[in-house]
């Protein structure tokens, strides 16, 4: 079942690659859309079959591959990977849909996008460490090429930087995986097998820190982040959407799956440091975003800040905080995707992303009123306004992390305030004000430019109003993965309190 999610896009890519030139130029987009719609529908089907109360793997698949290396084709899905796979399928579809119809070299472009989608799905579904690593590396190449070929003016620099950083990340992860398998005395990379091993704490720490740096590049954790703003600025819109929406989540996914999952004791040791890093990431990303003038850079730095919340929640490692971390992954995935989509539309219509040049785009008829309204919605969702999914995800993160790291959590919350600052600066400058003459003759925005953004906005609001649909997938998994069963901080109430439940029965009508 799960293989279809990986191989359907890749087979689609092969199909597009093999078709004659005449058909490809006209049909590449439709084929890619059809294939990714199929993957999307299939992931809906899998979601409908997903068993919420099962803590372990579901839909497992196994094929022996290179036994001598310990590499097997093992797939499985649990509450951690399931929502991310959904987001990946959705955003791949949106990325293909929002691609320019007149794009150069369509054959290569759509092939790369489909491979990217398939490889990311593979990484989320792998149950074997080496297989994960393979997919993790495969995903890198198409993105590198997309940035290097369809990117902006400084694409060479950005793509190379991206490639070097991510390759280093891959090497470190591979080293940690090899170290783990060697030291635990197995020649196998099966996740469950390695999870049952206990290594000495010092060894665990070395391996975990190696993994942390490896995934920290991908997330990115400050100071390993400098590849991200450059890559975002130069990447074409669909690549930015995928990069912010799913590829960064590979880092946090890896950290939770392999860091927390394989080294629970060492995780406890480094957790305070990790929480401190989260604070640095949040504040650094937010402050840096305030000083930017390029809309894409603002959103890119805001990504760095918002990924920090996931790290904070991961560090706390209580059942609730892991649910929060996963919720924040989904919410950041959708919200940043929305923001990048809209920035893409603005750039496509006006030819600039400089907030000091753009003005008054909310003006009806001649401006971009709908895009502007959606941008306000996206910015507010990112700033944690209730009613949208950013709020509830961040609230769960704060509420749960506060129990373990109160001071760090409070500092991270300052980031929410700063988010409002930079997005308000952006909205005020770009969308408010009077439309200048130079922008008065913008090309019309067609509904197909807006549809992806409208879909994402509706999802953001839907999950904001009905968050249990977002978090229920991961409850069981988060509880089994948590190392820290939660507890009140030192200054909690000393006296016992009448429990809320008993009070409810006193005064309650009924729910």
């Amino acid at each position: 079942m799960l293989s279809i999610l990986i191989w359907a896009p890749i087979l689609g890519a092969v199909l597009i690659a093999c078709l004659p030139e005449a058909i490809v130029t006209q049909r590449a987009r439709s084929i890619a859309l059809a294939v990714s719609s199929m993957a999307l529908l299939w992931s809906f089907y899998i979601a409908s079959q997903f068993n919420l109360s099962e803590p372990g793997w579901q839909f497992q698949e196994f094929l022996p591959w290179i036994e001598s290396l310990g590499l097997g084709y093992q797939l499985g899905m649990d509450g951690l990977s399931m929502p991310l796979v959904m987001v990946n399928s959705l955003l791949t579809w949106l990325a293909i849909f929002s691609s320019d119809r007149q794009i150069n070299r369509p054959r290569l472009y759509y092939v790369l996008l489909l491979i990217l989608g398939g490889a990311v799905a593979g990484a989320f579904l792998s149950q074997n460490l080496l297989l994960f690593f393979l997919f993790y590396e495969v995903e890198l190449i198409p993105l590198y090429l997309i940035i290097a070929i369809w990117g902006g003016a400084r694409r060479g620099y950005a793509a190379t930087k991206f490639l070097i950083y991510t390759a280093v990340s891959g090497v470190l992860i591979l080293a940690a995986f090899f170290g783990l398998s060697l030291l635990s005395g197995h020649s196998n990379f099966d996740y469950d097998l390695l999870r049952s091993q206990t290594l000495p704490l010092a060894t665990q720490l070395i391996l975990l820190i190696t993994l942390l740096i490896g995934f920290g590049i991908k997330i990115p954790i400050v100071p390993l982040h400098t590849w991200l703003p450059d890559a975002h600025v130069e990447a074409p819109t669909p690549a930015s959407v995928l990069l912010a929406g799913v590829l960064l989540k590979l880092g946090t996914y890896g950290l939770l799956r392999f860091g927390l999952g394989l080294f629970p004791q060492a995780w406890q040791t480094i957790a305070p440091g990790l929480a401190a890093l989260a604070v640095v990431s949040v504040l650094y990303g937010s402050f840096a975003a305030i000083a930017q003038t390029d809309m894409k850079k603002i959103v890119a730095y805001s990504s760095i800040g918002h990924m920090g919340y996931i790290i904070l929640a991961a560090a706390a490692a209580t059942p609730l905080s892991l649910i929060g971390a996963i919720a924040q992954m989904i919410s950041h995935g959708l919200i940043s995707a929305l923001l990048f989509l809209l920035v893409g539309v603005v750039y496509a219509k006006t030819g600039t992303r400089d907030i000091n040049v753009l003005r008054g785009l909310l003006t009806p008829e001649r401006g971009l009123p709908v895009v502007g309204s959606l941008m306000i919605a996206g910015a507010m969702a990112s700033a944690g306004i209730p009613g949208m999914m950013g709020f509830i995800a961040e609230f769960i993160v704060y509420r749960s992390s506060f129990e373990v790291f109160p001071v760090q959590t409070l500092l991270c919350m300052v980031g929410t305030g700063l988010t409002a600052v930079y997005f308000l600066i952006m909205i005020n400058k770009v969308f408010f004000g009077r439309l200048p003459e130079s922008l008065a003759n913008l090309p019309r925005v067609r509904w197909q430019d807006r549809i992806p953004a409208v879909i994402v906005t509706m999802l953001i609001i839907f999950f904001g109003v009905q968050p249990s649909w977002m978090v229920r997938w991961s409850e069981t998994t988060a509880t089994t993965l948590a190392t820290n069963q939660g507890g009140l901080p030192a200054f909690a109430v000393a006296q016992p309190l009448p429990s809320p439940a008993s009070l409810v029965t006193l005064t309650d009508v009924d729910g």
Binding site: H225, A288, I392, G417, V421, L424, T507, G511
Partner: protein, 615 residues
């Protein structure tokens, strides 16, 4: 029947939101043929439904004990989130009051924004506004109230920024959002902390918890201050008061609600949080100091304004300061009464000056005059609203002030001085505005000023009658003391302060013999007051400076240190590769020599390290 009413009490906020959603086809431009009017009608219809619903609910719950309604929202391991509503006389009454004022303001807006192309958008935001506010009124959960307060922040931003093409509006909207956001952020910190240490976020539970809570003084103080920050921002109290002044750039019908019920929402939450705040005496002191500072300061600032809306909005801050003082002295019921009486009176004043602004197309007091005979209904509304604001005639605020002063008479008599000062200054200011706008000679902009159209006059006159009848209604509810219980000294003081203010104002502004503009005090004092005590400077050298410098420093560090280092490594490796290629001679014996030397060195290093380890 009653059970059904309770079960559906959460619909009340939904009507407003539904109205907001119904306007979408018009506000995004899908439907253009009909013009934006149908959107407004939908919203008004929804508000009428909400009004009927709250009216019936109010009638049903009047004599009953408060009932709570839990709507399960999110259930997670170890953490349940309920949206808790409470249906009591007070909460439903507050919701009724909000919906009623919202209905009047919406009808008023039909006239006020008749020719505005963004009418549908305006109504969408008004629906949102009303939904959030009536939700706060009914909410029994700090979490829900916080969420709705944030939605109010958002809708304030969008309503103030309604005419977003004007530069002043842009900065006003930004400041309104960010100032409130500072308060909200601290409130959120308080909410999260409270949810962990108290284990629940329902006000009912928090009350019980506060009785047994055993917090260290430091934690209690920090928690209380964080919780206090949210209402301080919402109620436009010092130091988070400037946004209300700037928010007057927005359309007037929204200002009607903003100055009456939106600010009251902050105070309403504050009243509900009072038991938690009372855990720390320091917090109560801070609350009193903020309230007192704002009450006196804002009353003075109001007198120095020449913008008609700004002259009114500062007095909103001042009255909310009195409410803060009432909460600080633990007189919750007086605080609620004050919110009600101030709310209706201020709403009426804002309707009246809205009519003036629309007719004269100016907000500058110095350009007005002589409107009284031309706009009788507007003038009547202003006069009634003004008298209901101050303690002179037995209208709304008189009774609230009387009860307020009776509450503090025994404990802190010095507070009565503040009340009398606020009363006198407000009376003076209201007479001043009356003199400049309605009295005296006409000016070019007021010469041809007809009375407003019926869509604006109808809600205005309705509210005028309501304000006049309010004391009778209060009497009916037995909120007012009988004449025998009243402290005559306090009544005398109150009336005297009102009369002095009115008399002084009348002498300076109603008499043609005193030259206008009246120079009461030195120019420097006037300027300090006109610029709101230069509080914007305070922002600039504190929060704004911190954020701006933090951002600059981070961006510099990011660009030159972090990225610089990375680029340096990149350039260095390219450069070393480039330069190393010239050291290649192509002679194989040199390579062999290099290899040999390398191996020998490596072996030596290995031997040395083993030597250290094993011998």
């Amino acid at each position: 029947m009653n059970q059904l009413l309770y079960q559906t009490s959460w619909w009340v906020p939904v009507y407003g939101l539904l109205g907001a959603i119904l306007t979408l086809p018009w506000s995004v431009g899908l439907v253009k043929r009909t013009g934006p009017r149908p959107a407004a009608y939908f919203n008004i219809l929804m508000t009428v439904l909400a009004l009927i619903h709250t009216g019936v609910l109010l009638w049903a719950v009047w004599d009953l004990e408060p009932e709570r309604l839990l709507v399960p929202w999110l259930s997670l391991p170890g953490f349940d989130l309920w949206l808790t509503f409470v249906t009591s006389r007070i909460s439903v009454g507050a919701a009724f009051f909000i919906t009623a004022l919202s209905l009047l303001a919406q009808v008023f807006a039909l006239g006020y924004l008749e020719k505005d192309w963004g009418l549908a958008r305006f109504y969408a935001l008004m629906g949102f506004f009303e939904g959030a506010m009536s939700g706060i009124a009914l909410s029994d959960s700090l979490f829900l109230s916080y969420a709705l307060l944030e939605m109010l922040t958002l809708s304030t931003y969008l309503l103030v920024g309604f005419w977003y093409a004007q530069p002043l509006v842009v900065s006003a909207a930004r400041d309104a959002f960010l100032t409130k956001r500072v308060g909200d952020l601290l409130l959120l910190m308080g909410v999260v902390t409270l949810s962990v240490i108290a284990g629940s976020m329902d006000f009912t539970h928090l009350d019980l918890w506060a009785k047994v809570a055993n917090l260290s003084p430091l934690v209690a103080t920090l928690l209380g201050l964080a919780l206090l920050a949210g209402p301080t921002g919402k109620c436009a109290q010092f130091p988070l008061n400037l946004w209300l002044d700037e928010a007057m750039e927005g359309p007037n019908p929204a200002s009607i609600l903003r100055n009456s019920v939106v600010v009251a929402c902050g105070a309403y939450v504050l009243i509900k949080l009072q038991p938690v705040l009372a855990l720390s005496p320091t917090v109560l002191e801070v609350l009193m100091i903020l309230g007192a500072l704002t009450a006196v300061g804002a009353s003075l600032v109001a007198i120095a304004q020449i913008d008609i809306k700004r002259a009114m909005c500062h007095s909103t801050s001042a009255y909310l300061g009195l409410v803060f003082l009432a909460v600080g002295t633990q007189q919750d019921e007086v605080a609620l009464l004050f919110l009600l009486t101030h709310g209706v009176a201020k709403a009426l004043l804002f309707m009246s000056i809205g009519s003036v602004i629309l007719t004269t197309s100016t907000q500058d007091l110095t350009e007005m005059g002589g409107l009284a005979p031309r706009m009788p209904a507007t003038t009547a509304a202003y006069v009634v609203g003004a008298f209901a604001m101050i303690g002179l005639l037995p209208l709304g605020c008189f009774w609230a002030m009387l009860q307020w002063s009776e509450g503090v008479w025994a404990t802190a008599p010095w507070l009565i001085g503040i009340l009398l000062l606020v009363n006198g200054l407000t009376a003076f200011n209201l007479v001043r505005v009356f003199g400049l706008v309605f009295w005296g000679e006409t000016k070019p902009k007021t010469r041809r000023a007809p009375e407003v159209m019926w869509l604006m006059a109808l809600p205005m006159v309705t509210l005028t009658i309501a304000v006049l009848l309010l004391p009778l209604v209060l009497q009916q509810w037995q909120v007012l003391p009988s004449w025998q219980q009243v402290n005559p000294t306090l009544v005398a003081l109150l009336v005297l302060s009102g009369a002095v203010g009115t008399g002084l104002g009348g002498w300076l502004y109603l008499s043609p013999r005193v030259a206008k503009p009246v120079g009461l005090v030195w120019k420097s004092v006037r300027e300090v007051l006109a610029y709101d005590f230069c509080i914007d400077r305070l922002y600039k050298i504190s929060v704004v400076l911190g954020v701006v410098q933090g951002a600059r420093l981070t961006a510099w560090f990011d660009r030159y240190i972090v990225d610089g280092l990375v680029n340096f490594v990149g350039v260095a490796s390219i450069f070393s590769g480039e330069s190393l290629k010239y050291t290649i001679s192509g002679q194989s014996r040199n390579y062999l020599l290099t290899l040999f030397v390398g191996v020998v060195l490596a072996l030596m290093a290995l031997a040395w390290s083993y030597g250290n380890w094993y011998f």
